[in-house]
């Protein structure tokens, strides 16, 4: 070929060759994920904007639901079952457990529905599909902040004052998000393949609300403690209580280590399964 007749001024800069072959998509995956980070931001921003724009009740929803749940769980576990509170006002105990649960469940179900909900994008545009469940996490995070800001005066009213431990809360928020991502990756990839997983998600969440110590404390249940620690959210809930409720709360280190281990497995296998099925998404969605 002779000298190009068209001046290739700026073209040369980005003229790298992209090769498309079966099974080749993996090569640039993580680099692409970084390149598409702005899209991640935009998708999250779109979902947040739409969520708080569409309904006047947008913010109210984020509040009413946990308020009712707190009252309900306080009544069931605190009043009916008379579970021990260890000197902490029972509503506070529930609220501190509900915050991470709320974060997890909205991130998890958001991620689970995200691919099917964005199927029009998946079938028309290339981007690392991981962006979609990741953006669902961002939405859940914003909901959590709304909830945190609103819970603050309530906790003060109950005579619970924040301590330096509050500074460690972001660690447990991140922890909850990683669990939600690991579980969410599984469920989202399965939902694309088998549509009836949409109906399984709420069912799992219902079980999860009780399998996670949202309405009760684990430190007064010595026989169940190990078993409950198999649920990685137990570590997160204990962490949230430890950060928010101050003294008298036990972090239960061995349980926490268990939570971290299980989370690592969940995230690892979740990524593996998601990446394995991802290339077929556009064909089956």
């Amino acid at each position: 070929m002779t000298d190009p007749t068209i001046p290739s001024t700026s073209l040369a800069v980005e003229s790298e060759t992209l090769v498309i072959e079966a099974g080749r998509a993996d090569r640039h995956y993580w680099r692409d994920l970084w390149r598409y980070r702005e899209l991640l931001g935009f998708l999250a921003w779109r979902d947040i904007k739409v969520r708080y724009k569409q309904t006047v009740l947008g913010v109210a929803w984020a509040v009413i639901q946990p308020a009712v749940q707190t009252a309900l769980l306080t009544f069931v576990f605190g009043k009916l079952a008379k579970m021990p509170d260890g000197g902490v006002p029972y509503p506070m105990l529930v609220l501190a457990g509900l915050l991470p649960w709320q974060l997890f469940s909205s991130a998890f179900s958001g991620a689970g529905n995200s691919l099917v909900g964005n199927s029009h994008l998946i079938s028309k545009i290339y981007f690392p599909r991981l962006i979609v469940p990741l953006s669902a996490l961002a939405v859940a995070l914003v909901d959590l902040f709304v909830l945190l800001v609103i819970s603050l005066p309530v906790t003060l009213a109950f005579g619970v004052f924040p301590t330096w431990r509050l500074l460690l809360l972001p660690v447990f928020i991140l922890f909850a998000l990683i669990i939600a991502l690991g579980a969410g990756l599984w469920i989202t990839a399965l939902t694309v393949k088998y549509r009836d997983f949409r109906f399984i998600t709420p069912f799992l969440l219902q079980i999860g609300l009780f399998a996670t110590p949202v309405g009760y404390r684990t430190d007064f249940l010595p026989n169940w403690r190990e078993l409950l620690s198999l649920n990685p959210l137990t570590g997160v809930v204990n962490g949230f209580r430890w950060c928010l409720l101050g003294t008298g709360m036990d972090l239960y280190a061995s349980g926490l280590i268990m939570s971290v281990l299980i989370t690592a497995i969940l995230l690892g296998t979740g990524l593996w399964y998601f990446r394995g099925t991802e290339r077929q998404f556009a064909d089956v969605i």
Binding site: I20, K49, S123, I125, K193, D283
Partner: protein
């Protein structure tokens, strides 16, 4: 070869329709797996009987757990090779199901090829749809940013071109209005404007000009021409409108049944395409859940005033509440009449089935004489399964000829009983 921007070599894509379609739910997948050994036993005992039953064509038998080579494997592309040089505008034509969309999807990295290789030099932007990711609740301004990001522009890039995009779309006054209040024309203009301001080295465009008014289409074509001619960008353009392809492209690729039938000078290829009649032949499209939909030729009713059609669908799984519709379009692809079994409830209601014939009768078709196309579609409950564009085409001759008829593009296709009277002064 520094000038080759796109090199496609031996590209093939296989879809596994049977499996993908059948196990849409975990319940079905489990049921299928669990019953597999039993089915295999039963089938091997009565092989002849099973072979005679046409609706029992499951995957070929290779053992109790084997999936085996399925007769429903479908090669959307088969060994396609071509090269595109920098600054070239390549048109791709072919009837529905020829593999055009699959080719574009592979080039845009939406789906992976089964075999073969593609090398692309430079940034690729693909426009397979106008307004991908537009959200109706968001304002025009917000959608420009969102859509730009989806198409691969950076935030700073969008900000830099924002005014230009808005001016091109002619929607300055409605920037802060949610796009759900936009007219369809405004919506398309804004969406195309974003896409037109992408600056990729390779632009892949599918069928997007089919929407929007003629004037704006011209503007878009002009913009795309400028992009290729003046800025040395490479464009891959797929369209049904052979006129648009002819106007824009130098070279044309004709795909049929996944193969390249012809590749060469745009005029020669389009002439051959039109002459072959392929442009008019009914398409073999397979939709979700392995559905197919065919339509008989449209026959005029006995009195010549109406039209009847027979449609037939078959599906890999039972459709519980099948519904069928059709849209008649004029020769410019403008819809003139649409009907479906939900708008106009059928005389006899649909029963759950895998295969059914449906007749539709339009006793009086108020249209001027012209060539028309019928697109048909099939759904189940609220799920859309497939659309066959231009499944049938027919030339309509109204029973009562019209005397002096202006061109249809000026008066529209409707031809109904009309009485004029000059009143005495």
């Amino acid at each position: 070869m520094p000038n080759t921007v796109i090199a496609v070599d031996g590209l093939s894509k296989r879809y596994r329709l049977g499996h993908a379609a059948r196990h849409d739910t975990l319940r079905d997948a489990l049921a299928h797996r669990l019953s597999a050994p039993w089915r295999w036993l039963r089938r091997s005992r009565t092989t002849e009987a099973a072979a005679e039953k046409p609706q029992d064509q499951g995957p070929a038998v290779g053992g109790p757990w084997s999936r085996g080579p399925s007769p429903e494997d479908f090669w959307a592309l088969r060994d396609v090779s071509f090269e595109v040089q920098r600054g070239e505008v390549l048109g791709v034509i072919g009837r529905n199901g020829a593999g055009k969309s699959t080719l574009l999807k592979i080039l845009s990295r939406i789906t992976e090829p089964t075999t073969g290789r593609v090398a692309l030099r430079g940034r690729v932007a693909s426009l397979l749809e106008v307004g991908t990711g537009f959200h109706s609740e968001l304002s025009g301004r917000e959608n420009v940013f969102l859509n730009g990001a989806i198409l691969g522009m950076s935030r700073t890039e969008i900000r830099r071109k924002f005014d230009e995009i808005v001016a091109f779309a002619e929607v300055e006054r409605f920037l802060d209005t949610p796009v759900k209040h936009y007219s369809s024309g405004m919506y398309v203009r804004l969406a195309f404007a974003v896409a037109a301001h992408l600056e990729p080295e390779i632009l892949i465009v599918d069928e997007v000009l089919a929407v929007g008014d003629v004037q704006f289409q011209q503007k878009c074509l002009g913009k795309m021409q400028a992009v290729s001619r003046d800025e040395g960008r490479t464009v891959l353009f797929v369209s049904h409108q052979t006129d648009a392809v002819r106007a824009l492209c130098d070279r044309c690729l004709w795909l049929s049944e996944g193969h390249i039938t012809r590749d060469g000078d745009v005029h020669g290829v389009i002439r051959a395409y039109m002459d072959s009649g392929a442009a008019l032949a009914p398409a073999a499209v397979v939709g979700a859940r392995g559905t197919r939909l065919t339509a008989s030729t449209a026959t005029p009713t006995a009195d010549g005033a109406g039209l009847s059609l027979v449609l037939e669908f078959e599906s890999a799984s039972v459709l519980h509440a099948p519904h069928i519709g059709l849209v008649i379009r004029d020769s410019d692809r403008r819809p003139v009449l649409g009907t479906n079994t939900q708008m106009h409830a059928p005389v006899q209601s649909a029963s759950p089935s895998q295969r059914q014939r449906v007749t539709v009768l339009i006793p009086f078709l108020p249209l001027h004489g012209d060539d028309y196309h019928v697109s048909v579609y099939l759904g189940d409950h609220d799920e859309h399964l497939l659309t066959v564009d231009e499944a049938v085409q027919f030339r309509w001759t109204p029973p009562r000829p019209v005397l002096h008829r202006p061109p249809l593009k000026d008066i529209g296709p409707v031809n109904t009983t009309i009485e004029w009277k000059f009143l005495t002064p």
